[in-house]
Symmetry: C2
Subunit: 154 residues, 2 copies
Amino acid sequence: MLKLSRLADYAIVILVKLGEQDGVVTSPALAGITGVPEPTVAKVLKVLSAHGFVLSQRGAKGGYRLARSLAEMSVASVIAAVDGQIALTACVGGRECDTGLSCGLCGSWDVINTAIRSTLEGISLESMRPKEACSTVLHQINKLNVAQTIREGA
Amino acid sequence: MLKLSRLADYAIVILVKLGEQDGVVTSPALAGITGVPEPTVAKVLKVLSAHGFVLSQRGAKGGYRLARSLAEMSVASVIAAVDGQIALTACVGGRECDTGLSCGLCGSWDVINTAIRSTLEGISLESMRPKEACSTVLHQINKLNVAQTIREGA
DNA sequence: TAATTAAAGACCTGAATGGTCCTGTTTCGG
DNA sequence: CCGAAACAGGACCATTCAGGTCTTTAATTA
């Protein structure tokens, strides 16, 4: 279904929620806020920390806080950090498919991958925030002419 | 990794290859052309037939042929037929997430889903074909390579 | 009527994701 | 100085689901 992994989904939610708090927040606290089970929250935060999205503070009174503002984080970068490279198919870069099937579709998939990547890069976590941000998001999308650029590929 | 299911991948390849043949083609023949195992080809063709992408002819001298031209089939429609709705997350249409987690991300995901959907709708199977399209496609890739890099820290 | 081929669905298997837990290390408070 | 709190970094298990195979039935043609 072309669906996002749940971990990446969690990561987005956690980052947005974390951005709404001030000071450091513990993972149990974030679990309470988001409804995601605590161990899973901790796991996601570790990954996010390793990729520089959040700063951690160890010890008592420790916790996490954003490393930069939500506006400076793209949806694409978060997904890439949690799930790895954003690509629809295994055969990228014009390499032969690992299955050895002779699709001969050359780099057509790359175009699609790039288009989707660009789309996700154009959406910041800031614009994922609820309420008033909604209208601005729609505005952003309208400006994204990625589909037009790629259209028909020729 | 935000990846497409392999069945959908096969479906694209099979349709493109089928469009290059003339007359009806049996599934064993298509298996030979594409390198995909025959039972899987048959399975995919059944789905494609049910969704009106191909026309089937039973009995001796039977087989499959395209119901319409490749130019009239979008990548999005094929994926939707094989994999179901194209959506990154389970929570669509502003409904509450099934997990009951209070993400409160309003309809932000819908915007992303719509953006990706329209991107895929803008790409026809015709433009996925190899050969002459390759050079132009590769050219596009090179132009988009910069934005393609995953931004981690900055 | 016999051979060929699609239709339909049941069923098995294996990989991978999601989720949990454990141990170690750091930091703060008493 | 000691204990509690909280992150770091793994290992580990389990469930799900996609991928693939097989069997039976129906239709068409020669």
